[in-house]
């Protein structure tokens, strides 16, 4: 067992924000979310924080651990606990704080709705995995595309993005510009743009990206890509959208 100290941001309507400190015992392999669960169950039932899947599928538990945006459900205590300095837990930045560690994520979902990105994507030909030293297990190192069983037209997958809001919290532009589409919103535009074949929808999506609060508001700090727990690479997608917009703009210029 590990004994750890957590310093948790507290805020309730009408009260001034402050930190509360708790010392809890958790298993060696526990995650930071496990520790929060213990604080809630054994020490303070009025602590509000978001949680559901506990294995990085839902994205609701995102917060800041010692200042950095993380998913506490897949952050082992042992990876952030130095043995004595209290772990400081704060809500995500750039969202209104509702209570304690909960933020109002409405803005994130408005941005994601702008592109209407569907959460599943079709036509996954292979497993996204490269595992070292699998040869001795008699399995193929790099699986090739395979045919799904007859009645399935193709395999599909959920999108990598779990809509956790970490990129929005890490982004310096979202900090002050409330209308910036933000890393998640722009990455969703990119993904949807590459899913659809309808030229009118493509034009609409590119116009969104080209908006006054679209890809050009990004300041290339790459914080979103650094912080993303799901390797979505929003910054890379923003740059890819820029490239396409510039190419289209130059083509249009030549035609004139």
């Amino acid at each position: 067992m590990l004994e750890i100290t957590l310093q948790i941001f507290r805020y309730k309507t009408g009260e001034s924000p402050h930190y509360d400190t708790f010392t809890v015992q958790v298993a060696e392999s526990a995650s930071v979310l496990d520790a929060l669960d213990v604080v809630w169950a054994k020490h303070d039932h009025s602590l509000t924080y978001r949680r559901a899947c506990h294995h990085s599928a839902c994205g609701v538990c995102a917060l800041r651990i010692n200042g950095l945006e993380k998913l506490p459900c897949v952050t082992p205590v042992s990876s952030v606990w130095d043995g004595h300095t209290p772990l400081r837990l704060n809500p995500l930045r750039n969202f209104p704080v509702v209570s304690d560690l909960i933020v109002d994520v409405t803005g994130l979902f408005q941005r994601l709705s702008a592109s209407d990105l569907e959460i599943t994507r079709d036509a996954e030909p292979t497993l996204p995995l490269s595992v070292d030293n699998l040869a001795d297990l008699g399995t193929r190192m790099e699986p090739e595309p395979v045919e799904p069983p007859e009645n399935l037209t193709r395999f599909n997958r959920f999108e990598s993005c779990i809509e956790c809001g970490i990129c929005m919290s890490a982004c310096p532009t979202v900090a002050a510009d409330d209308k910036f589409l933000g890393p998640a919103g722009l990455a969703a535009i990119y993904d949807e743009r590459h899913k659809t074949g309808d030229p009118r929808e493509v034009a609409h999506l590119l116009a969104l990206a080209d908006g006054e609060h679209g890809v050009w508001r990004c300041h290339s700090a790459y914080e979103c890509t650094e912080a993303c727990p799901q390797a979505v690479d929003p910054a890379g997608k923003i740059m890819a959208l820029r490239r396409e917009l510039i190419a289209n703009r130059l083509k249009k210029g030549r035609r004139k």
Partner: protein, 390 residues
């Protein structure tokens, strides 16, 4: 008569589907949840939309419910599922001997099942144990629990339902021997208030017992924990099951870029905090390795434990307890205006909602039929834009 107001306690899959069902019937609904959406057992399910195959031999009643609901869920939230089917794989002679019973069970429960040539199965699943002897394909699917609930809730909100998160029921209110509302504490503000209702539905999953206890009632639900181990890599395209009667660690559900191995079964007293026991985790990995030998080569991303709300009758072992659900009208316990819905699987959440909503409507004399079988749900993203923080 004014439109009846129903309070649903618990925003897991059952409570969410129930709020949707009642709102669609035109009733006024308030859903009260002490934490966030799906923060209890629902969030920590295996993410498996059952075909029913897993239960078709030992628990045909639950299996039949699963396949019916499986088809309905595919229709009402097609965009929230990974539709890659499932494989039941025989690894031993004993498994192979079970195959005929399995196929018969599937046929009895009307679960489409088809044996795949083992070479084809190995091609589809390159990480599957090369010694696999047989593989049967069934229509399993994979969901994401929070968005599953949000889709029901967003649709319920569109029909006027109110969702109160981080709001805990602390006591019941009574009027003339009948439950007339609840006393709640909103943990976001620290304020308490009373909310009146014509009827209250207890949909608190493994916590139905503690909720019912506030009204001095006991319900025969035993919180039965299970462990899941999530790997930091996806080893299978389809859901992989061991072709044998359900036991520990015999199923690997792939989701997004992970594979989730499950599960074990033991009874717990307090479902609030269940640390995942290290020996159970080790067992999951060892069992998972039989299906997918590469399991031990992949780092573990998360270890999760949660309690199922199993309805226990007689002295059956938890693993044998039926996965079907039941509705309790506490009129029978001398408390009017209070019902409990418990048991079941997330796959059957809509059917559970239909059952309890039918009972509620009958009790209140509301003659509106259930429509949730055919009404597609709106985008889960609308939940956050429905002013639920207001």
């Amino acid at each position: 008569m004014s439109i009846p107001h129903i309070i649903v306690i618990g925003a897991g899959s059952t409570g969410s589907a129930t709020a949707h069902d009642l709102a669609l019937r035109g009733l006024r609904v308030t859903l009260i949840e002490r934490g966030d959406i799906a923060s209890g057992t629902t969030g920590r399910t295996h993410c498996l939309l059952h075909s029913g195959g897993r239960y078709c031999v030992n628990d045909p009643e639950a299996a039949a419910e699963c396949i019916v609901e499986n088809r309905i869920i595919r229709n009402i939230i097609p965009d929230l599922l990974e539709l890659n089917d499932g494989l039941f794989v025989a690894l031993t002679e004993a498994d192979l001997a079970f195959k005929e019973r399995f196929l018969e069970g599937c046929a009895t429960c009307h679960i489409p099942a088809r044996e795949l040539p083992i070479t084809h199965a190995l091609e589809i699943e390159p990480f599957l144990n090369r010694g696999a002897l047989a593989a049967v394909q069934v229509p399993d699917a994979v969901f994401e629990p929070v968005r599953f609930c949000l889709a029901f809730l967003a649709t319920a909100q569109q029909h006027g339902a109110v969702v109160r998160r981080f709001t805990e029921v602390t006591d019941f209110l009574y009027a003339g021997g009948c439950v007339s509302g609840v006393k709640v504490k909103d943990h976001r503000t620290g304020k308490t208030e009373n909310i009146g209702a014509d009827l209250i539905i207890n949909a608190a999953g493994p916590w139905v017992g503690s909720v019912a206890a506030m009204a001095g009632i006991s319900v025969p639900v035993k919180p039965t924990a299970g462990v899941m181990v999530t790997l930091d890599g996806r080893l299978n395209n389809m859901v992989l099951n061991r072709l044998s009667p359900p036991s520990d660690g015999d199923i690997v559900v792939p989701q997004r870029a992970t594979s989730i191995i499950g599960t074990t079964s033991w009874e717990v007293e307090d479902p609030d905090v269940i640390p995942a026991p290290a020996d159970h985790v080790a067992k999951m990995l060892a069992q998972g390795e039989q299906l997918l030998p590469a399991v031990q080569k992949i780092p573990v991303r998360a270890r999760v434990a949660a309690a199922r709300p199993l309805i226990v009758k007689g002295d059956k072992e938890a693993r044998e307890a039926s996965r079907t659900f039941e509705c309790f009208d506490h009129q029978d316990d001398g408390v009017e205006g209070f019902v409990t819905i418990a048991g079941g699987k997330m796959t059957t959440a809509r059917a559970m909602a239909e059952r309890v909503s039918d009972l509620v409507c009958k009790k209140l004399g509301v003659a509106v039929a259930c429509r949730t079988r055919n009404v597609p749900l709106v985008s889960y993203r609308l939940f956050y834009q429905g002013g639920s923080y207001a």
